[in-house]
Amino acid sequence: MLAYTFKRLAAGLISLFVLATVTFFLVRLIPGSPFQSGSVSSQVVEAVEEEYGLNAPLFDQYAAYMGNLARGDLGISYQEPDTTVAEIIGRTWPVTASLGTAALLTAVILGTGLGILRAVSKRKAVREGIAAGGMLLAGIPNFAAAILLLLVFSVKLKWFPSAGLLSPAHYVLPVAALMLYPMAVISRLTGNALAAEMDRQYVLFARAKGLGRGRILFTHALKNAWVPVLNYVGPASAFLLTGSFVAESIFTIPGLGREFVSSVTNRDYTLILGLTVFMGTVVILVNLATDLVCAWLDPKLRRSYSGK
């Protein structure tokens, strides 16, 4: 298992290297310079570029950046000359992460609950209601959901504040906007997987040996049903933890996603690169964690990782 983890981490490092390289050269394809703006003369731009080493040969710049990256130094933001990229991430990520975690937890808890209900409910109306509701929610794009929530609950009903992230009440609408889609998908996956598990022979056998319905559901069927669900939850949580560009922009939340959008419009090379590498790291780690949890649930997978 340990060997497997190390192998995955090594593969992750290679992925990060490729990601950083590709992003480095792609960013340079954005027309214009980071320091260009209407009121600045071209002499000043050139002078500042000189100072930041941007007129050196591209490959030298690349080598210098990768050298710094290897030491864990993400460089200085061009837009806020006194702050390092690491500081910006340190400032914005806790905001995004708290929002993402809240959204993830609600999505998983509600999604699983609805999924279980759909699989075991004896009432057809409940089963089909959940299925149809899930389909509807999964069909609404998250920018539409965000704006709709904002209009109804903030502008019309004035139940929740519309912008910022100051109090728990501020969390409600962005979390709702973020979790709707994952919740719908999780409930559908859980429902399908659980219904399939409940038809399996071992459930019949468990009933034959006198186990109660609840015990069969929670200790037997759910453990098997979770594996396909987790395969979705992993990537979905990586997505939530790296921040949603749309939701953060609509609710004006000072998070990673919004920072990323503004860094691209500002052509802030180091910030774009730093954020990309950081998000890449999160995605890789979260996916690794998902696979490890799957292996913990599925003994067959565990043995195959251990190479036995």
Partner: protein
């Protein structure tokens, strides 16, 4: 006093379109300490009846009865009644350790601490004949062999402390030798604990080996009931007679004695009359190994044109690997496969789509070797009509003489007629056919490119006795008519004995013995062959009751390193050399065996012109 009493049980299945009567007023009872059998073919409603008794049928089934009682109380699953299901792999939760699956059962039925439950579980596993219960408790189902899993299922059933155990096809998924072990175990449990046992099976041999009283079921009704002696020696109902007749290899009640007689004679004679044909396919020291123990090692054999050659062995013996090598789905690691003397270099093989090395797509014998699969439905694409599937097989051989669609259609229809189906069936989809009909389609598809060798990989194992007989007869008729060679791969020695002229027995990837089928089956030389033959259960209570397991427990088979005879660990004749060197093959006339009992070195000098006889 009867422990289990079922009176006038009926079950109807309701679906959106129709309702179907699955059971029609059946009544039966099981007395204290009694072993009762229910026999019937698939679809006769046996399993439905058992699930209905346990109260485990789904919502779509409407159950009505005048009373189902266990010890004079209404049935509640797990209380006084326990059940063992057919598929031991699927009836254990794959994600939960064996130990916990037993202890949770123990703890439902008696109030005790976790520790006590654990001790009880170990005791139960020991009772079920598992040798190191502590080790097994910490393992997951997939780490255990099929026989071992069935033992765990039995231990779980025992944990319910039942007065009666229902065993639904308890050994159907198991190898013959393991089947004998499990049946033996069930018998011992009945003797030791005094529980009653209700065995449900399609296999007359299993019923004969265990039961003292038998019910015969057909299409939801009990059509005959009586003691085992009555049912097996003096059946009254036509259907019971037919079941017994169709049971593999044994024909105690021929309705048309001449016909049956003629057929056997015909087979035997033809094989004798035929001159030895030139070899169609030759294997020379073929090896293909997966991991450490799977696959085949150093196998040589020869299939002649027009003959029926059988390959026997248990699951995991490498039969399917061999079939895949012959059809070119795999390429050998070592050794040669020659088709009409033409060899294809294994080195030229390219990687197939599944990443395993395989032959190049176009081969010298393209289309000349065809295969009939075990899972007839699984091997047919559900989205293609039968006509399309057959047409595709016809087109796949390609070549110069390309057929027009009309010609192809005609060929498909001819082929379907030959396989005992109607031309209109070409426009139907695989799911519209019954199991036997699907296997006919499988045969038609294999035969339509006009092969010279047909490989049947357990092609008849999944069919009921009577269906199997029909499909088998059809295949043999076509085989003789068209002089197609046939490689018959099966674990079922009774079946092999009936159809083949020559046989090879595979034991864990190595050839144990080969020769004329009638010689090998009537006078086995290799201890492994003998064990296989001894595991066949005849549908005769006296004979089947006498069949004893060769080794009582699981996990005694095989040496680890691939060195030595693979059967040595469970062989009663094993010598020291059997564990250290790989035996033979030693050749005597038309027979060959890989056992040191027949080697000159280990048994001393032989006189000139010595005629070898069985040493066991």
């Amino acid at each position: 006093m009867s422990i289990l009493e079922v009176r006038n049980l009926s079950v109807q299945y309701h679906t959106c379109q129709e309702s179907r009567q699955a059971l029609d007023g059946i009544s039966f009872s099981v007395g204290e300490g009694e072993t009762v059998g229910i026999v019937g073919e698939s679809g006769s409603g046996k399993s439905t009846a058992m699930l209905a008794v346990m109260g485990l049928l789904g919502d779509s089934a409407a159950v009505s009865s005048d009373g189902i009682t266990v010890c004079a109380r209404p049935v509640q699953p797990g209380r006084d009644i326990a059940m063992i299901l057919q598929d031991s792999l699927n009836c254990l939760n794959p994600a939960v350790k064996i130990g916990r699956q037993i202890t949770e059962t123990v703890r439902i039925h008696r109030k005790c601490t976790k520790r006590e439950a654990k001790e009880r579980a170990e005791e139960l596993l020991d009772m079920a004949g598992i040798r190191s219960p502590k080790l097994r408790m910490g393992q997951y189902p997939f780490e255990l062999s099929g026989g071992m899993r069935q033992r765990v299922a039995i231990a779980i059933a025992l944990a319910c402390e039942p007065r009666v155990i229902i065993a639904d096809e308890p050994t159907t998924a198991l190898d013959a030798a393991v089947q004998v072990q499990i049946l033996h175990l069930l018998k011992r449990i009945v003797e030791d604990t005094g529980t009653s046992l209700l065995v449900v099976s399609h296999d007359m041999g299993v019923i004969a080996a265990l039961c003292s009283r038998v019910y015969v079921m057909k299409t939801g009704r009990i059509i005959e009931a009586g003691t085992a002696e009555e049912i097996f020696y003096a059946p009254v109902h036509e259907y019971t007679k037919k079941l017994l007749r169709d049971t593999k290899g044994h024909k105690p009640f021929p309705t048309h004695p001449q016909e049956v007689h003629l057929q056997e004679e015909h087979l035997q004679e033809e094989h004798l009359r035929e001159k030895p044909q030139p070899p169609l396919l030759r294997l020379e020291h073929v090896t293909k190994v997966f991991g450490t123990d799977e696959g085949i090692r150093d196998v040589s054999m020869e299939i002649r044109a027009g003959e029926v050659y059988a390959l026997a062995g248990e699951s995991g013996s490498g039969k399917t690997t061999l079939a895949r090598l012959l059809t070119g789905l795999l390429a050998p690691d070592d050794g040669k496969i020659l088709y009409r003397g033409e060899c294809l270099d294994a080195g030229k093989g390219k990687r197939a789509w599944n990443g395993k090395s395989a032959w190049n797509g176009k081969r010298a014998w393209n289309g000349k070797i065809q295969m009939v699969f075990q899972d007839a439905y699984g091997s047919l694409n559900p989205c293609l009509t039968v006509g399309q599937a057959l047409g595709e097989a016809l087109r796949a051989q390609g070549g110069k003489d390309r057929l027009t669609p009309a010609e192809r259609r005609r060929r498909v229809e001819e082929m379907l007629c030959m396989a005992g189906l109607s031309p209109e069936d070409a426009d139907r989809y695989p799911d519209e056919f019954s199991g036997g009909e699907r296997q006919r389609i499988g045969i038609a598809r294999a035969l339509i490119p006009e092969p010279e060798l047909l490989i049947c990989d357990e092609a008849f194992s999944a069919l009921d006795a009577s269906t199997r007989k029909q499909v088998l007869d059809l295949l043999l008729t076509i085989q003789k008519e068209k002089k197609i060679a046939c490689l018959f791969i099966s674990h079922d020695l009774a079946l092999i004995r009936q159809v083949s002229s020559r046989i090879s027995v595979l034991c864990q990837g190595r050839l144990a013995e080969s020769g004329e089928t009638k010689d090998v089956c009537s006078d086995p030389w290799h201890p492994y062959t003998k064990m296989l033959l001894n595991s066949v259960l005849p549908p005769d209570p006296l004979k089947a009751g006498k069949v004893r397991p060769v080794f009582a427990e699981e996990g005694t088979q095989g040496t680890d390193s691939g060195k030595g005879c693979p059967f040595a660990a469970s062989c009663g004749y094993a010598m020291k050399c059997c564990f250290e060197e790989t035996p033979g093959p030693y050749r005597f006339g038309s027979r060959e065996t890989a056992c040191f009992l027949y080697s000159e070195k280990h048994t001393g000098k032989r006189a000139e012109g010595y005629t070898m006889t069985s040493q066991i």
